[in-house]
């Protein structure tokens, strides 16, 4: 079963500029943790943004959880729920003037979940946060707490594919360990496919079943567990 199948995907961010992603092909199996590494500017984040439906200006063929999203179209149906993303900078990805409760209740309302408040409390304790945190603003939280809120938000809709864009690179080593442990726990509790972007080979080697090394807008080689073990 493949969760993600991409064939000859090309993305150009600005008209006339060179391709950021240049006929890239990738297949990720259901339940796999796939890593993406590469130098800054090689197109890792752009690839995730295409898969999340944030960047809709692309060419090629994409199959996501048995849906076929089309370029220039918003995701529709279940796909909107099933693909979720956690962004790099927890300082920037939460609305600075919305309390945690609002950040989490908004998607729940959109999904039409019954008793959203209870679901929110549950989501917070799932990621190891005190539910009292719901009444705080993002600036009143530490970096690690903010990233936990962002992960809790992504998990609200029970996604089948979780896209993680450098989820720990703005965090301290000790907090990074806590977040990576949390992600492993989530992985073992819910059957979920993850695509993890990081420039830290240690993080990739710790988390992933396979990893693709990106360069020049394509995946230059794929590392299996044996190669990752040596890192």
């Amino acid at each position: 079963m493949t969760a993600v199948a991409i064939e000859s995907l090309s993305v150009r961010l600005v008209n006339g500029a060179p391709l950021v992603i240049d006929s890239l092909s990738l297949a990720v199996t259901d339940g796999e943790v796939f890593g993406l590494v590469g130098p800054s500017g090689c197109g890792k984040s752009t690839l995730l943004r295409v898969l999340a439906g944030v960047n809709r200006d692309w060419r090629g063929s994409v199959e996501l959880l048995h849906h076929r999203p089309q370029p220039h179209r918003r995701f529709s149906g279940n796909l909107r729920r099933e693909v979720q993303m956690v962004f790099q900078d927890p300082y920037a990805s939460l609305h600075p003037r919305h309390r945690v409760a609002r950040a989490l209740l908004e998607p729940l309302r959109l999904l039409g979940v019954e008793r959203p408040h209870e679901r929110m409390i549950q989501a917070l304790s799932d990621v190891g946060l005190d539910p009292l945190i719901a009444s705080r603003y993002p600036h009143e939280l530490s970096g690690g707490q903010r990233q936990r809120v962002a992960i809790a938000r992504a998990l609200l809709s029970s996604p089948r594919l979780l896209l993680l864009d450098e989820p720990t690179s703005s965090l301290d080593a000790s907090v990074q360990a806590e977040i990576l442990n949390l992600l492993s726990t989530i992985k073992s509790l819910h059957a979920m496919t993850m695509i993890l972007v990081s420039h830290d080979m240690g993080v990739i080697a710790h988390m992933c079943d396979r990893a693709g090394v990106m360069g020049e807008g394509r995946i230059e080689r794929t590392l299996g567990r044996e190669e990752l073990d040596r890192l």
Binding site: A173, A177, H199, D229, R230
Partner: protein
């Protein structure tokens, strides 16, 4: 008495920076101090200051450079740089020392540099303030080439036009322009990716050795400090809880140092839970 003064002189000759009982607190709040009575010396060597964010590493660096502003306030029993008492420095004296004898490299060049001045102009300003050379343009070019930026276009570029690594090297060039005795680098490579990180640190440490400078490297990355530094100081919640040769960081028996060291993920930890330290064990 004579003996005592000569002993102190001998010590300050030995060490560039001598700090005793440095305490930093916020005068607005009567909470526990942010940095609590720490003491250390730095000579011509590379010293790593490690700890997680909020442990007071950066504030320590700022206090040493006299850069704390209200509501933060630093008090110390002793704060000496090359035998001079920093505690009673006037603004004028600070201006003479900062950027010439003591220099500070910050985390992200894109924020630390002035966005509306070209790189060449900013390096030139450092020279104008401290070193009255006639051929400033030539010196700027020379300084940039010492950090591997030989393209003359770099001097004409604005900070946002450079990549992260180039910006960081340009900032380093600027700080080394006047041949400082002590270089403080506050997380100089956390904004860079792995390849650039090694490049910038190699450069910085080589220059520290060849120009016999003291280097205080602030980082939360223990393996990096172990690789690049001679000695390490470990800070936790405003105190220096552990210190020793940087190469022996991995062997430390302090629970905090051990946790910081072993929480790094790698291929060997795949499928295992990473150790997370129990703060109640370390907190007093």
């Amino acid at each position: 008495m004579v003996c005592a003064t000569s002993a102190i002189r001998a010590m300050s000759e030995h060490s560039l920076l001598s700090v005793r009982g440095l305490t930093i607190r916020s005068i607005a709040a009567l909470r526990r101090p942010i940095v609590d009575s720490i003491s250390f010396d730095i000579g011509v060597e590379r010293v790593g200051l490690v700890g997680e964010s909020g442990s007071g590493k950066s504030l320590t660096a700022r206090a040493v450079m006299g850069l704390l502003s209200r509501p933060l306030e630093a008090i110390a029993e002793r704060l000496e740089f090359e035998g001079a008492d920093l505690k009673h420095f006037t603004q004028h004296q600070w201006n003479q020392v900062r950027g010439s004898k003591m220099a500070l490299v910050l985390q992200d060049a894109r924020y630390a540099l002035n966005p509306v001045l070209t790189i060449g102009r900013q390096i030139g300003e450092m020279l104008l303030l401290h070193d009255k050379t006639a051929d400033r343009k030539g010196r700027v070019r020379e300084i940039l080439s010492t950090v591997g930026l030989t393209d003359p276009g770099v001097a004409r570029a604005y900070p946002h036009q450079l990549s992260g690594g180039m910006g960081q090297r340009a900032m380093l060039a600027m700080m080394l322009a006047n041949g400082p005795r002590l270089l403080i680098a506050d997380e100089p490579t956390s904004a860079l990716d792995a390849a650039l990180r090694t490049q910038v640190l190699d450069l910085m440490c080589n220059r520290a050795v060849t120009q016999s400078m003291g280097l205080l490297l602030i980082s939360h990355d223990l393996p990096l400090v172990a690789r690049y530094c001679d000695r390490a100081l470990v800070m936790y919640r405003g105190r220096i809880v552990d210190h020793g040769p940087a190469a022996h960081l991995s062997l430390s028996d302090h629970p905090y140092t051990r946790a910081l060291w072993s929480c790094a993920p790698s291929g060997r930890t795949h499928g295992l839970r990473l150790p997370v330290f129990d703060r109640s064990q370390i907190d007093p």
